[in-house]
């Protein structure tokens, strides 16, 4: 047993972390989670990035892994689409909880406040780009469909002038 414990990094949870998260918006639903993974299964981010899993982030919170959660780039990947919240059989509001996590990450210095501002701006730009791409794709005749790359290039041209 001594061997294994020296080889594998032992993690010690921070019991207060889950309570702090639970104090934020939607946090009251956090303890209800029974790890069914519905959120992870239906998440549109998870569909393109296998490493993104709301259920896993909730499990990290419950185990008190403050550094891992707040220092993780994953919490910035969430689209805030709330699909997980609507699907959750226990009514856990992950998207809201994720918002709390972003605030805490900034507050506790895991992410620079300026950097967070940049993320927010980037998110807005990406949303604008997404709308522009979809808008352009809709207007194209179906048989003259352009590739994603071409669509993005043209949409960017539209956006910037």
């Amino acid at each position: 047993m001594e061997n294994t414990s020296s080889e594998i990094p032992l993690l010690q949870g921070d019991a207060g972390f889950a309570q702090e998260v639970a104090a934020g918006p939607g946090g009251d639903t956090l303890p209800l989670c029974y790890q069914c993974g519905t959120c992870t299964g239906c998440c549109p981010v998870g569909a393109v990035d296998e490493g993104f899993s709301p259920a896993l982030i909730i499990q990290w919170i419950r185990l008190g892994l403050r550094e891992r959660v707040l220092g993780s780039p994953k919490i910035w990947l969430c689209l805030q689409c709330h699909r997980c919240s609507f699907s959750c059989p226990q009514g856990v509001r992950f998207a809201d909880i994720n918002g709390t996590l972003r605030h805490m990450a900034v507050r506790e210095g895991f992410v620079d406040a300026a950097k967070a501002q940049e993320f927010a701006a980037l998110e807005r730009d990406l949303s604008a780009l997404r709308c522009a791409v979809l808008d352009r794709a809709m207007r194209e005749a179906p048989n003259a469909a352009l590739s994603t790359e071409e669509l993005v290039r043209e949409a960017l041209r539209d956006l910037h002038g």
Binding site: T4, L10, L11, Q12, P31, C39, T40, E50, P89
Partner: protein, 1048 residues
Amino acid sequence: MASGLRRKESPCGDPLQTIVVVGGGVAGMHAALQAADLGHPVVVLERDLALGGHMAQLDKTYPTLDCSLCILSPRLLAFGRHPRIRVLVRARLENVEGCAGSFVCTVTQEPASVNAEKCIGCGSCARACPVEQPDPFNLDLGPTKAIRTLYPQAFPSTHAIDRRYCLHFQGKDCRRCAEVCPTGAIDFEERPHVMELEAGAVILAGGFDLLDRRFIAHPHWFDSPHVVTNLALERYLSATGPTRGVVHPRGLIAPPRHIVFAQCVGSRDPVHGVPYCSGYCCTAALKHIQLTAALPHVERITLCAMDVRAHGRDCEPFFRRVQAMDKVRLLHGRVADIVPLGTDRGVEVLASHGGKPLRMEADLVVLAMGMRPSAEALRIAKALGLQTDPFGFVRIKEHHTVHTSRDGVYACGAFMGPKSIPSTVQEACAAAIAASARLTIRPEASLSDVPATAPSPAPQASVAKTIQEPDGPAPRGASQTALRIGVFVCRCGTNIAGVIDTAEVARWVKKLPDVAYAAENLFSCSTDATTRMARIIREKGLNRIVVAACSPRSHLPVFQEVLAKAGLPPGYIRMVNIREQCSWVHPDKPHEALVKAKALLAGTLAHVRAAWAAPPMAFPVTPSALVLGSSVAALTAALRLADNGIRVLVAESGDTFGGRLSQAYFGRPEVNVNRLYRHFLSRIRTQPLLRVLMHTELADCRGSLGRFHVELRQRRPGAASAAERIEETVGAILIAVGADVWKPDNLYGYGHSPLVLTQAELATALERGTVDLARARTVFMIQCVGSRNDERPYCSRSCCQQAVSHALELKDHFPHLQITIVHRDMRTYGLAEITYQKARQAGIRFLRYDEKQPPRVEPTRFGRRSTLDIRWDDPDTGDFFHERADLLVLSTATVPSPENRHLASILRVPLSADGFFLERHVKLAPVETAVEGIFIAGQCHSPKTITEALVQGDAAAAKMLAVLRQGSVRRAAFVAVIDPGRCSRCLSCAAVCPAQAVTVPAVGPLRVDPGACQGCGLCAAECPARAIDVAGAEEAGLLGGMPSVFCA
């Protein structure tokens, strides 16, 4: 028929003793049969066309994979034969007026448009009917006719016209059914009946409906042909289903190769569906996996379940077998979404595993639909003014098991909450005896007048079941008269006739020597067919009978009764199984199946020629009982029996009385153990028919049902003198010795550190107030300590609920505590799921561990305090954790009492591989054992909660009381006889006889007690002098039949 029922005119007996049972599913059927066996006239009201409920729709049952209808149909037949039961189908209970003991039930009955008195269930009308309509029995997946019976083996078999589809009722000129009906039973003018029934008690067995699309987050799932419900899969698997047993749902271009089972659809989902666990679906899915994995076209099966709740008898080994299958993969989690992939391509299933999203293509997704109280049950609860819980399940009075909020109205089955078939059967029997308790006419003498020494005469003589001795001519068929063999070939609907030309079999057998009569029946076991058989036997003077049909294991008693009715000894019948052994196993080779059926029949004819039978004998039943143990179930049953005038002796071998009740225990939400214990103690003190012996062990038991001679030894604590011997004769025995809590010495630091307790020790400490956790911060609980491993491959069932309720109790006392429960699967089945939800809400943390990576615990010191160091692997994140705990509570296994082996050997009752007592049938005979007259209840049967033990105790009491009230028992038809000329007194037979039926006199040959002999034949096989022959398996007959069977 029903129009004759009017107020002040009871259907069959004293109205004040009548019990009305509402619902004809497995709960209602068993409640009705039990109440009738206890001597009450019973009226069963069933909404549908026939009895059976959901169980009739199942293909196989878990975990034995018995054919559901094959185990149910003997019960259906019992209804047809029971003189005290009246079945009203298409009937609904409108209202109940009056009070307990004198109710008036208003019942309406829809018209069948078929005269039930005339209909013989031949099905000519359905064949002639030109209208096809969706078949509700097959969940509208296949067609049926506008005049129909519910399913082929249905009881009653009376057909009924569906007026919504019938052309005649649409104004068209169609009378085809009336034209073909051989008995002129069609009655287009029949009107609805309204009747009033007088009854003393009402038992509600309203059953359940499956949840539907309104209860799930994604109702569009149901629109895909690749998605079916678990009940639909049952119908697809069933031979009478829409695809005749081929799993190839409509809309799929090929049979499915990859099947996904999605659990908890609507259940455990307070947001979209219902918050409770439906209890049955995990084991049903395991059964479906086992069945579908055997199909050649199925290559892969995925089970998506959060917790696999296989907590019943024999369920865990089944789960382990399924897990070990190559084709099967288990994902911990729920199905998040199902996306159609286009017409020919099946669906994509979105789920997650190991903290990662997972997408897979599937050809078929089976949804485990949760259950809720049936719409009909909800309506009745409202009409009767019963209290229900927020989900619509009927509320049970505090400290009761089957009593509703209205006096005299009882409930059982899924109407009280989601549950499995065995629990339902036990509840049904408990409801029957509870309903009976208030209605029984007391014996003339007051209870205290009953002499303590001599057994009192059967107290219920007025309602005792009279033995149906053959009332016709004296038993005939003695060997002198010429043999006249009658052969009845069963079509079994299409089960046999679909493959084998039964008419040809009958024609062929008629030509064989000694065969005086041969004919085929549609269903030989149906009420009209058995009546006809008895008549034919008398008219044609038949003296040996062969029935070529299904298994004698299920149906022999049915035909033995026919013989008794016709005045023949029941030993003069043989059955040959041409269904399981011919038509079912060789459906593709009808010719070979026919040849085999003929060969088996020829062998059986040779057998029946050699049959001999002794005249029927009856033995009196001693109206007293021995209850071994003083567990919850034991005390429940003992009190129930004593209250019904049975003398009861309770023998407890240990020195604690009351089993689990004597220990502190917190059973959220409903059981107050202390109050229950006090209640039992005061009742036992005041019940004069009850005698309790402490420190008393069973030393010997001889005899059989109705007259067990038992020898008990009572130790005198402290005294060095030998134990005192007590001899008694009792009519029946109940084993209810409870179970023990396993002590996990040297595991998780138990026994080394005072900080490690078992759940039972924690409960005692909490009760005494000796737990001081004011300065403690963290408490850990570890589940499945000693359960669900290779040594004990069973689930201890009650520990998850116990841990959750103890954790909540701790949280109440010490709100600052951080409590973590480390588990493998949380098995808070049924309504206990609500407590689990509450526990999470209260901030109790639930983490999973893998069987192969259990947590590691080491005592350590933290400053001046001693604490525990806990390390565990978290399979959800894949990380290795380390925390300190101030208290560790172990949920240890429930282990069989060491007494079990000793009792099993004395009573010759089999034990399961785990060392618990084995019931006769896991689904439908959960309190009977293989030995007639010996019953089991409580934790000695399998681990269970206190409420479940209370129910099982009542169920066992009901079964025992029914037997004890009979007054006498008939001997088994097939018994062994020793030829005195050949017997050399070697005692081989006495050594092997499991029924201890061989008596050894001081001189002369041995004898077999026909009252005890079960006809198993072990003695005949063992006897070196071949001096023993067994009726039913005569050596001459068996050998005589061999050439026909093997040389065909």
